[in-house]
């Protein structure tokens, strides 16, 4: 089927960017994924372990359907997808055009090393004499001036850090591929004008700059400078400020009038710094502080040079933009209270700690005191550094640091043993994510991590024993001192460094703290048409939320592109028809790139060829030279295009055997890519030279090709309809999102009307009107021709799998049943406020829940002016091992909302909130601050001693411990409001009939919490909203959109292509023991009781091979990894 292809650009290749890019690519759009960093992965490229599973698992984001279009290897090392073009190390320079037709300008800084030629062999780094702090390890450890920016990428090209390169040329000589060209000529063409009235300054600057290879002119006054500028072009002017006659500022103004594009840098003594800063506003690029030192001066100039030395500038036309540029981190060394960071080596940030405990870090994962390399016995974490702090202008919570610290502490216990003491100093432990409360409880009870609710006031280095002395006061005000070997500062979020310029370019609105703001009830609508927000650009998020939000962003982008007619790109070419070789005997053409005789000398070619030709499957062996060059590739192209063989093997360096190259060869030879193999014959012999190893490697490649069956593309038809169960806001959002793409949606609701919890909710804490939002959504549903609502209906049964489900509905009023066909299903059955009989609820009319409070305020049955005192109690029957052992996430915000609302209606009202931890995550913190400013009293209570009540006449007496006073407190309240938490409404049987599961608390069980947060393990079944996990309206909307995006991958195409690596069954050999069914983690196998055969759902099968491993007689086989193939490959090297 032909379809119009839209284009999108995703800016930022962290996990959100990757998720959005994959989403859009899987739906069929062409995506350009750009990042200013040299590799993909964002912040997680430096993080080895992530909560709450303490592992990675990023690869779980890779496509599950149409797997062949994408790489299926470690995502931290790289990504490849048919529809994604990745541009790394690229800066966004401008966005022009109209929504739906943006013209985006990108700039790529010059690189002295051609990544297409670089083998990643490391010869350059071996000879480089310059050692500088390693940026990948955040300055801990050393690297060379020529280095790998992200050490684990594949393929990986070296790059030169010109700030530190001394241009000794050693790497140029050492490079076996000739990939390095130092930009001597270009620097000579870079003209710098120095303007200073002092000769000595001019002369020394000139000398330093000439040493760096630049062309330099000098002027002793502003007048002389202007003369020179009019005579010839300059690329940079450095000017002093205090000069007789025309001073620097005047020169700046005049020069800018005449040469608006000329970069000008002010040179200033300390006395005129303020003038220099002023000058920045009138067009100066930067300023440099005198006196100069070549060690600081030169890098600064090189930085300016680098920034301007853009070689590649490209303009791309895209329909939509997803911005996922992420967040930055707070730098404690720049704050008023540094805790000694930057001075005490044993004081590290949480990000630095990640590098220290990583196997690829500066100490290879060994945790030692940075001051004296002694073993670490006691570690402390300080929470909220640069978060929840007025001193650092951060009236927000950074949302992830609590869990991050808990994870790091657990990691320490696991790696170093339980004897190492770990203490976390915190204010509130904000474990508000789905399984985080259990994770934290486990940290406390099983790992023995100490949680100290206190802020440390003093840290002093202990000169005698080493380590750091820490002083803090407990909540009773008693001062304590403890010694630690290492302190980890849990640093908070800051907006990305280029957020302001990005906001200007893209037309974003920023919030008070400089993060991107989204429209009400959406995480991804930026307010600017065609521009969408993903991930931490709007504030730091954990992986699960980032992935959900990225899904929402890609859905919104996709919907936008669809609304614009699918895009501007031409319709794609007809799919390639490969040569049919099923009836031919396998014959392989083996091609070996000798890499300029670095792999094989000319004299050895004949011997190798003779040996390889003994294998009857080898038709021909041909040696090529440097296929990485244009000439070499042309030779290869000519050879392959005319080849009569039906298998191709290319032996070359890693970059030349990447999937993209293999596909190119397949296209050229008209052979299915499955019949083209590539082996890396370069990496393993970086330094040593070994023909027999080369031979073995080639033989392994041949072995795998010999028995490969000509792949036949297998398709599963997909019914292009969606079923949504549950008509609350999540269900309605998901239904509309998919229907807006032109697909039919059946929306099932048990109740007579749609709306769910939005029927009673009045407004959000931000003040957005929920009723209006609900009415709008209901109206859109009603008007949408593709959404079919089934009210008063319930699902009675379902069977089928991704692409084809048959579900029976029963109308509860008429008792009539009907069967619906659909390709995917989204469960959005919702949740509700938990019922309770605690604190006299149900008996005493003055004890209400937060929901009841909100309802009574809106229907007028409660008049706040008549109230004098209100007590709110948080975490009622929640976060306990015995009941609701999770945080319901929204209750603290609801309590703050209702408390603030009450205060608004009656400012004299006294409000007391008993809480355990106030979960005012993210920018909700602001409302917590506001509440305290409005004199709402917060009293922290211990779960073992919760507040108690005794009725006293009309009012209720609440007794609780006040921890700061250390005394019991008696409050006479007119109203007691309980936060009882959220319970899901997803019957196990309902989830079960679609093959999904519920967790211990009754919420939907995700395939994987972090990486596949809305999928069930069974493909084609998704969940969102409150039946998935407690979440706000906006978050429920985001999860619904993420679900819609996941569903669109399946119903977006009339048929789903199975991957070439899938499992098959030899029925004649199968004993029907069904062990493969038990072993299959994807539920892709079942017993067909009519045929009495094991059947494999080729779309659900992910080619993991577990079934082949448990099958004793290989009745179950994995295509591409048949026993013979694997045996042959092993044989080849034995």
């Amino acid at each position: 089927m032909k379809k119009k292809i839209g284009t999108a650009m995703v800016v930022g290749a962290g996990i959100s960017g990757i998720r959005s890019a994959l989403d859009l690519a899987e739906f069929g759009y062409r995506v350009t994924l750009v990042d200013k960093a040299p590799g993909i992965g964002g912040i997680l490229s430096q993080l080895d372990y992530q909560f709450p599973t303490d592992g990675c698992g990023m690869c779980k984001m890779l496509p599950l359907v149409n797997r062949d279009e994408s790489s299926q290897t470690c995502l931290r090392r790289g990504l490849f997808h048919e529809n994604i073009n990745i541009l790394s190390g690229v800066q966004l320079k401008g966005i022009q055009g109209e929504p739906g037709n943006f013209k985006v300008t990108l700039e790529k800084p010059a690189s002295a090393i051609d990544p297409a030629l670089c083998l990643g062999c490391g010869e350059c780094a071996a000879v480089c004499p310059v050692e500088v702090p390693d940026s990948f390890n955040l300055g801990m450890g050393l690297r060379k001036a020529v280095y790998l920016p992200v050490p684990h990428m594949i393929p990986n090209a070296y790059t030169i850090d010109f700030k530190h390169c001394n241009r000794c040329n050693a790497c140029v000589t050492a490079c076996p591929a000739g990939a390095i060209r130092l930009p001597e000529e270009k620097r000579k063409q870079f003209h710098i004008l120095i303007v200073d009235d002092e000769l000595i300054v001019r002369d020394s600057l000139k000398e330093w700059l000439l040493d760096e290879g630049f062309s330099v002119d000098m002027a002793d006054s502003g007048r002389a400078a202007l003369d020179l500028l009019s005579q010839k072009p300059f690329h940079l002017m450095l000017t002093d400020i205090k000069m007789p006659g025309m001073d620097g500022v005047e020169l700046l103004t005049r020069a800018k009038e005449l040469f608006p594009t000329l970069p000008i840098v002010m040179m200033t003594a300390y006395a005129t710094v303020e003038t220099a800063v002023e000058a920045l506003k009138t067009g100066a690029g930067d300023y440099l502080l005198k006196p100069f030192d070549p060690r600081t001066f030169i890098p600064k100039i090189l930085e300016i040079y680098q920034a301007m030395d853009m070689v590649e500038e490209q303009e791309l036309e895209v329909n939509a933009l997803v911005l996922a540029t992420g967040a930055d981190y707070f730098d404690p060394s720049k704050s008023k209270n540094t805790f000694g960071y930057g001075i005490y080596p044993d004081m590290v940030t949480s990000r630095e700690f990640e590098r220290l405990i990583s196997g690829s870090g500066p100490t290879h994962g060994e945790l030692l005191r940075r001051s004296d390399a002694k073993p670490v016995q006691r570690i402390a974490w300080f929470q909220c550094v640069g978060s929840r702090d007025f001193q650092t202008n951060s009236d927000f919570c950074s949302s992830v640091c609590c869990m991050h610290a808990v994870k790091e502490a657990r990691l320490v216990k696991e790696k170093l043993g339980p004897q190492v003491e770990t203490v976390i100093f915190y204010m509130d432990m904000r474990a508000f994510g789905k399984s985080y409360h259990a994770y934290q409880t486990e940290a406390d009870q099983r790992y023995g991590i100490r949680f100290e609710r206190s802020r440390v006031h003093t840290v002093i280095e202990n000169k005698e024993t080493g380590g750091l002395d820490v002083f803090y006061a407990d909540h009773e005000g008693i001062r304590h001192g403890e010694q630690f070997d290492m302190i980890v500062l849990s640093i908070g979020q800051r907006p990305g460094s280029d957020m302001e310029s990005l906001a200007r370019m893209a037309g974003l609105t920023l919030n008070e703290w400089g993060f991107a703001a989204s429209l009400p009830f959406s995480t991804s609508l930026s307010g600017k048409e065609g521009v969408f927000l993903g991930g931490s650009i709007s504030g730091l998020k954990d992986i699960s939320d980032s992935v959900i939000q990225a899904g929402s962003a890609s859905l919104c982008a996709s919907r936008f592109i669809h609304s614009k007619g699918g895009g501007l790109s031409p319709e794609p070419d007809a799919p390639t028809r490969f040569r049919d070789v099923t009836r031919e005997l396998p014959k392989a053409l083996v091609m070996v790139c000798t890499c300029g005789q670095a792999v094989l000398e000319k004299s050895e070619e004949a011997g190798l060829k003779k040996d390889l030709m003994k294998d009857p499957v080898v038709g021909e062996v041909i040696f090529l030279d440097r296929i990485c060059t244009e000439k070499g590739w042309a030779g290869l192209t000519a050879l392959v295009s005319g080849a009569s063989e039906n298998r191709l093997l290319i032996g070359a360096c890693l970059p030349c055997t990447q999937p993209l190259k293999i596909r190119a060869l397949a296209q050229l030879s008209n052979l299915h890519p499955g019949l083209v193999g590539g082996v890396d014959i370069r990496s393993f012999q970086e330094r040593t030279f070994d023909v027999s190893a080369l031979k073995d490697t080639l033989k392994m490649g041949i072995a795998l090709l010999r028995r490969v069956d000509p792949p036949s593309d297998h398709f599963v038809p997909s019914i292009r309809k969606l079923l949504v169960v549950g008509g609350g806001i999540a269900g309605m959002t998901a239904a509309l999102a998919v229907a807006d793409h032109g697909f039919e949606v059946d929306l099932v609701e048990q109740q007579p009307c749609l709306g769910g919890n939005l029927i009673w909710l009045q407004r959000t804490i931000e003040g957005h009107d929920v009723r209006v939002f609900c009415q709008d959504t209901l109206a859109r549903i009603e008007k949408h021709p593709l959404v079919h609502v089934h009210p008063r209906s319930e699902v009675t049964g379902s069977f089928g799998s991704a692409g084809c489900f048959l579900t029976t509905l029963r109308d509860t009023e008429t008792d009539l049943s009907q069967t619906l066909e659909h390709g995917a299903v989204i469960l959005a059955t919702g949740g509700k406020e938990a019922e309770t009989s605690a604190y006299g609820h149900g008996e005493n009319p003055n004890t209400v829940t937060q929901k009841e409070l909100e309802q009574r305020l809106s229907d007028g049955t409660l008049t706040p002016d008549r109230l004098e005192s209100v007590v709110m109690i948080q975490c009622v029957e929640s976060r306990e091992a015995s009941q609701k052992n999770y945080c319901s996430r929204i209750c603290c915000i609801s309590a703050l909302k209702n408390a603030l609302h009450l205060k608004e209606l009656n400012p004299d009202l006294a409000i007391y909130i008993f809480y355990r931890d106030i979960m005012a995550y993210g920018f909700f913190e602001h409302y917590y601050t506001l509440a305290r400013k409005k004199d709402i009293i917060f009293i922290q209570y211990d779960p073992d001693h919760p507040p108690r009540i005794t009725p006293s006449g009309e009012s209720i007496c609440v007794v609780g411990m006040e921890p700061v006073l250390g005394l019991p407190l008696e409050i006479t309240a007119d109203l007691v409001v309980l936060s009882t938490g959220v319970v899901p409404m997803l019957p196990k049987s309902l989830a079960g009939c679609f093959g999904a599961e519920t967790d211990a608390s009754g919420f939907f069980r995700e395939a994987e919490y972090k990486w596949r947060p809305v999928d069930s393990l069974k493909e084609g079944v998704f969940a969102c909203g409150l039946c998935h996990s407690p979440r706000s309206i906006t978050e429920a909307v985001a999860s619904a959109e993420a679900c819609a995006q996941r569903a669109l991958r399946i119903i977006g195409n009339a048929r789903i292509k199975a991957a070439s690596v899938t499992a098959q069954v030899h029925h004649s050999l199968c004993s029907l023991c069904e062990r493969c069914i038990e072993a299959c983690p994807y539920g892709a196998r079942s017993l067909d009781t009519d045929l009495m055969q094991i059947v494999v759902d080729a779309v659900m099968c992910q080619g993991c091979g577990s079934c082949a491993a448990v099958c004793p007689n290989s009745a179950s086989v994995l295509a591409g990894f048949k026993d013979q193939q694997v045996f042959d490959a092993i044989d080849a090297i034995l």
Binding site: D54, N1113, K1122
Partner: protein, 374 residues
């Protein structure tokens, strides 16, 4: 809940007493057909027979020391799908245990099936039995001597190796038993229902029985441990193992005889091991020479991997080997280690899953190298 009953034995003739018992079973409506060892009309051959007509039980011979094959395979054939009839399976303990494993592997079922196990007096190898049975009345001679306390050879013939180290002589949890009267133990509710319908007189288990069994088991266990120690020493390196198996001719009799080798067709006779002539020559070229047939060690190692967890130690592999390779010793030794590692015992319980079919998140971190990985 075990219910004990007894059957009178007349003229010390255990065989005919048991025959009578089985006739009464077939006569009841609880059992339609019995699988039971039976004398063939030919001389000295005992084979399992599926008996429908009670008259044909006259030749039933469950006490003979013949063990031509492990009847778990026959039980599997009869119960793989429902036959619509109720079956009684008279099996030795090692046959029961193998059948339990096959049930877990979905090669058999207990539905409409009652297992009748006999205390096992041991058996001879096929070769020894053929000679032993040449003399009339062999079965009676055998059980009278063994039950009379003779622990040495009967008519010069020793029990098969596997039986001498068998620590499971009693069909645990399933059962019938003997003496001057035969004790019938109904160990399951199904068994109880069956026995209650037969109007047998109640009995209780004599204390001496348990003592005798315990003694026998501890004696056999000691022998077993010694055997395993010796076998381990003989096969402690790859070279030694290769030497141990050097007489193998790839006849695959052992896997045909093995009750838990349940594959429809062994992978070793499929095209996976049907090498190209080029392959043989490449091996020979690379190594200078290769032993033919190839893959003999690989075959046994593969079998060890496949049946390590389900091997019940019946010894049919040794019984079947034409070249007298001590396979039972090798397989029991390796299986013992494998089963111990997972705290599993083949045939112990039908509701105990085979370890490799269960996914444990945290298991053997020192082997898998990851802890708590998701």
């Amino acid at each position: 809940m075990t219910l004990f009953s007894k059957i009178e034995v007349k003229d010390k003739d255990l065989s005919s007493c048991l025959q009578g018992f089985f006739v009464s079973l077939l006569a009841s409506d609880k059992i339609d057909a019995l699988l039971i060892p039976r004398q063939l009309p030919h001389k000295a051959v005992v084979m399992p027979a599926l008996i429908y007509n009670p008259d044909d039980l006259a030749q039933a011979d469950p006490l003979s020391p013949a063990f031509p094959l492990n009847a778990a395979r026959m039980a599997s054939r009869l119960t793989k799908k429902s036959s619509g009839e109720k079956l009684g399976l008279v099996l030795r303990p090692c046959e029961i245990r193998a059948f339990i494993e096959l049930i877990k592997l979905r090669q058999g079922s207990l539905e409409d099936v009652v297992i009748i196990g006999l205390d096992c007096l041991g058996a001879y190898t096929n070769r020894d039995y053929a000679k032993f049975a040449e003399t009339e009345g062999s079965t009676r001679r055998f059980y009278e001597q063994v039950l009379g306390g003779c622990s040495g050879p009967v008519d010069r013939y020793e029990l098969a190796g596997a039986c001498t180290v068998c620590e499971h002589p009693v069909p645990e949890n399933y059962g019938v038993d003997h003496a001057t009267e035969v004790l019938v133990e109904a160990a399951t509710s199904k068994g109880e229902a069956l026995v209650q319908g037969l109007n047998l007189s109640k009995a209780s288990e004599p204390a001496s029985r348990k003592k005798a069994i315990d003694g026998l088991v501890s004696d056999r266990t000691a022998k077993r441990d010694k055997m395993m120690e010796e076998t381990s020493a003989l096969t402690s390196s790859f070279e030694k193992l290769s030497q141990y198996l050097s007489r193998c001719v790839n006849c695959y009799n052992c896997r045909v005889a093995c009750p838990v080798c349940y594959c429809k067709e062994c992978v070793f006779v499929t095209d996976v091991f049907d090498h190209d002539p080029y392959q043989y020559l490449q091996w020979a070229r690379k190594k200078g020479k290769i032993k033919m047939p190839v893959d003999t060690d690989f075959f046994h190692l593969t079998r060890m991997a496949h049946i390590g967890l389900t091997c019940v130690g019946c010894g049919q592999c040794s019984n079947a080997c034409p070249n007298d390779i001590p396979l039972m010793e090798l397989f029991r030794t390796s299986a013992h280690g494998a089963q111990k590692a997972f705290d599993y015992e083949a045939g112990r319980r039908v509701d105990e899953p085979i370890p490799l079919s269960v996914f444990e998140k945290d298991e053997y971190p020192e082997v898998v190298g990851i802890k708590g990985a998701s």
